[in-house]
Symmetry: C2
Subunit: 342 residues, 2 copies
């Protein structure tokens, strides 16, 4: 069983995922996971993965070819649904069972396509899978927060090259989400407005950091970007919960994401990248009194963060929490706006 | 002039270091900084660096051969000493001049030696340079915090292979330091003890996560380590400020660091790593009323964090602030204790 462990000095939780099973000796031998000859994410090898939880498919039975998007449990999960969400003390430390969910969204049957190569409709299929899984996992009241993310390329932490994203549901609010929720709640309490909406309005007026604008979405190079070419995609109109987006909105989001990913792929020659979907915690269905969602999260504003992995996070960043970005977001935005993506 | 920019959504400062001069187009061309043929950190090329600020030397004039350790200003500084520490508003954002100091500690004249290959006395020389620079920079009241760190290997962010560490002094308290200072202060207020001292006592009693213990120092695998083989080195007896260590203590610290670095080098085959010196902010000489050091930082406990770079920080870690560590600290500690380092 994985463990969640609390560091009282740094005030953070860490998942000690011993089920992933890397012994100390393993690090001597291989630094990079070797590619197996058979890709378990390709048509015909569905039996090599845990059974599918959800799929978008045009033909065939579950766990057989015919799918466009397929969601499975992670074979080496960081967290598992079995166990109790209850912490125990150990000296000054805390520890709890590694309860949660860890799923893999296989985004395409095509082994050689990255998400930037998908059609907008294919991206929208992936977004449909995200929405369906978020809505389903809400029924498990133990799961306090869900994060969907994508690691593209080995430098971004991907161990399999076949295009996929992941969903991890955790039994406590992650620090990044807790802070964003607190900030939006505090701003709402004093201003009765959404801080994200205010910032989006400001950015659209300024224009210098805007990369893409459509009827419903905007892609920005953030003013205080931690990394070169970091981008944030927001719905222009207030929306706290990605899972409440309708089909038309997901279709338009597919178009916007295609544009964003293609620009990054073109100008940076297919760099490794991560993206992360930040959305409000699943409050609607939850009984009792939660800590962070006293506001029900309605003052939050969902968004997607994209970080191309062009630089290493080094000692300074890790040791201070400050980031040094050698390239200005305004220059980056202009460069991406002007990019010729054919 | 570099800028410090405030993100009101994430509540963090970012250094937009445009003086480091990476244009958006640069990322298309090179991902890795090419090695120049002449190493500016070797004997005979002292003229290729900014003039030396401090050195430990056995012969010769400043900026000439004869040094064992040499401290210079960074040629491409993230922050500069010129400018005013004053923030201006910009919409919901904040911005201030990138005031600070950015120095490079060249740790040896030998191009081919890593710190793990140094003698304990050579490491102690480097520590002497750290201490001297920390004490000197305290005279600049604008500099609120100093961090010394080392990036070893390209995967850890090093752009030059010649062994060196860096010192960055910043005009505001970094988030990681602010949290550690707050934690130690709060614990002291309620317990009248140092939380680090308590944890060290607990760890020495438990024993399972102890890697090295000497008369004055201990090296631990932290209970909630974020990364495999992460280590923390603490003075066993309460000491808030690294810069107040005496020569005898630095000599013993040299022995402990040699042992720690050699174990890591041996068992992981010279991995890339970062280490970071965490020490109390320079309060003694500061006039007026500071924010975080109301306790004067005396309840802090300096330490060194070492992180071998065996895994990528991926989307989940970046998006949540949670870390997944696939190897237990207890196993790591046993493995390092038993390592045959000859």
């Amino acid at each position: 069983m994985s463990e969640l462990r609390w560091d009282p000095l740094k005030e953070h939780w860490v998942i000690i995922a011993t089920e992933r099973g890397r012994r100390p000796r393993d690090y001597q031998i291989e630094r990079i996971t070797p590619h197996s000859e058979v890709c378990p994410f390709c048509y015909g090898f569905e039996g090599k993965t845990p059974p599918e939880i959800f799929s978008v498919r045009s033909y065939g039975e579950p766990n057989n070819p015919g799918w466009q998007v397929r969601v499975i449990a992670n074979k080496y999960p960081a967290l598992r649904v079995e166990g109790e969400v209850k912490s125990r003390g150990y000296g000054l430390y805390d520890v709890r069972d590694g309860v949660g969910a860890h799923e893999v969204i296989i985004e395409t049957p095509d082994h050689y396509k990255g998400m930037a190569d998908f059609t907008p409709a294919e991206i929208a299929n992936v977004l449909q899978a995200y929405r369906a899984r978020l809505l389903d996992l809400r029924n498990d009241f133990r799961l306090r927060h869900m994060v969907i993310f994508k690691n593209h390329g080995a430098q971004a932490g991907a161990t399999l090259s076949h295009s996929h994203s992941q969903l991890i549901a955790v039994p406590l609010t992650p620090p990044v989400a807790a802070k964003e929720l607190r900030v939006s709640q505090q701003f709402y309490e004093s201003h009765e407005r959404c801080i994200y909406c205010d910032l989006i309005e400001f950015e659209l007026k300024e224009g210098v950091r805007v990369v893409i604008e459509t009827a419903d979405f905007v892609v920005l190079s953030p003013y205080a970007a931690c990394f070169p070419f970091e981008l944030r995609l927001y719905p222009k109109h207030h929306a706290h919960d990605f899972a409440l987006m309708n089909d038309r909105q997901l279709a338009e989001l597919g178009i916007t994401m295609k544009d964003m990913l293609q620009r990054i792929k073109t100008v940076l020659k297919d760099p490794a990248y991560n993206f992360i979907l930040h959305t409000a915690p699943p409050v609607q269905s939850r009984p009792g009194k939660p800590e962070y969602w006293s506001s029900l999260g309605y003052d939050y504003h969902w968004h997607i963060e994209l970080v191309p992995r062009l630089m290493q996070i080094a000692g300074f960043e890790w040791g201070t929490g400050f980031f040094i970005n050698p390239t200005s977001p305004e220059e980056t935005a202009a460069f991406l706006r002007d990019a010729d993506i054919g």
